[in-house]
Amino acid sequence: MSTETLTIGKALNLGLRRAMEDDAKVVLMGEDIGKLGGVFRITDGLQKDFGDDRVVDTPLAEAGILGTAVGLAMRGYRPVCEIQFDGFVFPAYNQIVTQVAKIHARSKGTMAMPIVIRIPFGGGIGAVEHHSESPEAYFAHTAGLKVVAVSNPVDAYWGIQQAIAHPDPIVFLEPKRRYWEKAPVDTDATPGPLFASRVVRGGDDVTVLAYGPMVKTALQAAEAAAEEGRSLEVIDLRTVSPLDLDPVYESVRRTGRCVVVHEAPVTLGLGAEIAARVTETCFHSLEAPVLRVGGYDTPYPPSKLEEEYLPDLDRVLDAVDRSMGF
């Protein structure tokens, strides 16, 4: 057994390295990912070791990155594209939605698109506009894409390797403000499935759902609630599309209450879909409507306001109170 304490960022770096060692067809593409190692240093040292044909500093053009990745995939490569920040994915949106997502269906299954689109997402880092967004619903709404959001170093290490090995295109969301969070990672372990949610804290009173950066917030809320004698069950969804809600249904049938937390705006966000499905499936078990805690339906605000925009421990607890009050 080989266990190291790793940050999420370093776990991604090691996971990418291992994926590149395992499969010579893996090619990393992005802006500043070579010599610089990426603006978050996730690809640090990889170009030096694998060469600039496999770690490609591309021209500054996101549609170009995704569009050429499509061509490379058609030629048998497995491109891993880094989008520098969430808000910069939109120039590539056309390629992702009209091409990456649809080519497998268009070709009746003869052309696979094993492309991973890595996006550091979410706020909380005091950045300027376009550096703090949560675009997951756009991609989850697009048939043909799968969307994963990791929350911790273990899932980062294994998840990036599993995503690269997977035959379908995956939007791989990295919780940028948690890049420096540490945990022990057993690099010899057998990882669990990629598209599976996981109960990360057991509880009896309210089921709290989160993914990516909000998992830590939900766990903090559970800790605080416990001090007040309330028992929250926290589920890390881990995969946003497909959604793995069986553990959620099982939990809600016990607790009768459900709160969904994400940074993305509430309206038509993942919470809306989850609330609908939980209601359809667990209607007779619910003691309260499924409540959503998320960003407001505004553009992501200037950073001096982001603490008020982002869900935090108190807003999660407020939703828990409201749920318990029904």
Binding site: V27, A61, G67, A73, R75, Y77, N94, Q95, G109, K146
Partner: protein, 379 residues
């Protein structure tokens, strides 16, 4: 209101003309004049056998016959829509015949002539326009990618594919098709930047047919399109797109340069869409009949026929046999199209993913159960 600055160069000005004329020499590469005269060019030549020359005529004539039949089938309600290639046969056949085994072509949705040269069964193309699928041919086996409907998106795919060819160390080239309108797309410009930066073995083949649906070239570009290439740092050439010999020569040379590691070339095939954009379009709303008449004099098939006849390379018996082959092809396309079966409803669920999701599997099951509920039922 658009005010042209004095210094702006108007595209290929021809005094007193308001229609797109053939550009002035020496820009235009031509080996066969509209009158059917064989001419030489200092940089480009083709050395074709008599069989090959007759073969090109046969290609052009059969592709046009297919196009005519498809238009008729659409008018009779058997196709949802058809994008006619009428007038662009030489550009497509010349480009397609320049490809070798191992090369890959990335078409738009109008490259029926290229599909023909790659051995794609016309019925697969008909299936797309009838609505039974999105094109059922095998891109790997034919070296011809599926049609891409989003304007210009395939230029990036071609460039990426060419980057893969480079990494494989293969001696192949990639041919990206686009139209004049597509040159305004950001993605097309990004494709040219990537291709140039990585010296990717890709050739951009732009059929300038003068209109993006209704909008004339002048709205897309203030300079002749082939001159755009200079800004990206690779050669741009303009060829008479209605001259199959010149198109073949120019495309062959560009593909060979790409194979040899010399990077991309931009080819502007100067041609004319003699029909509508698609069967849903009405070109009389935006262009003059006189313009069409002018371009009919430059017909790509007529000039080759004149050349073959005058030079004794083909006789009436040959042309009659091609006509007969065309009628046979048209009959096969007609009957084959009518026989194309509607796909089963469940098929829409089956290839969304390589690895089916539980969510979609459940929707598929619901769909089946819903439809099964009507069998022998009240409704």
């Amino acid at each position: 209101m658009t005010a042209l600055r004095e210094t702006t160069e108007v595209v290929d000005p021809v005094p007193g003309a308001d229609a797109p004329h053939l550009p002035q020499q020496p820009d235009l590469i031509q080996l066969l004049t509209p009158e059917g005269e064989r001419v030489e060019h200092p940089d480009y030549s083709v050395d074709l056998s008599e069989d090959e020359l007759r073969g090109l005529y046969r290609d052009l004539a059969l592709v046009r016959r297919w196009d005519v039949e498809a238009t008729a089938l659409q008018r009779q309600g058997e196709l949802g829509i058809w994008a006619s290639l009428l007038g662009q046969e030489a550009a497509q056949v010349g480009a397609g015949r320049a490809l070798r085994d191992g090369d890959m072509a990335f078409p738009t949705y109008r490259e029926h002539g290229v599909a023909w040269t790659r051995g794609v069964d016309p019925l697969h193309v008909m299936g797309l326009f009838r609505g039974v699928d999105n094109g059922g041919w095998d891109p790997a086996a034919t070296g011809f990618n599926l049609y891409t409907i989003v304007i210009g998106a395939q230029c990036l795919h071609a460039t990426g594919y060419a980057m893969g060819v480079q990494r494989d160390g293969a001696e192949s080239a990639v041919l990206a098709f686009l139209g004049d309108g597509a040159t305004s797309q950001g993605e097309v410009n990004e494709a040219m930047i990537f291709a140039a930066s990585f010296a990717a073995p890709v050739v951009f083949f732009c059929q300038n047919n003068q209109y993006a649906i209704s909008v004339p070239l002048e709205r897309q570009s203030r300079v002749p399109l082939y001159q755009r290439a200079a800004g990206f740092g690779f050669p741009g050439v303009r060829v008479d797109g209605n001259d199959v010999l010149a198109v073949l020569a120019v495309t062959r040379a560009a593909l060979q340069a790409a194979r040899e590691g010399q990077g991309p070339t931009f080819i502007e095939a100067f041609t004319y869409r003699m029909g509508a954009h698609t069967t849903s379009d009405d070109p009389t709303r935006y262009r003059l009949a006189s313009e069409l008449e002018e371009w009919k004099l430059r017909d790509p098939i007529a000039r080759l026929k004149v050349y073959l006849s005058r030079s004794g390379l083909a006789d009436q018996a040959f042309f009659d046999s091609v006509d007969a082959d065309g009628d046979e092809l048209a009959a096969r396309i007609r009957s084959g199209t009518l026989e194309l079966a509607d796909p089963p409803g469940t098929s829409m669920f089956d290839h969304v993913y390589a690895e089916q999701t539980p969510e979609l599997a459940a929707q598929r099951a619901e769909f089946e159960a819903y439809h099964a509920s009507f069998e022998g039922g009240e409704r």
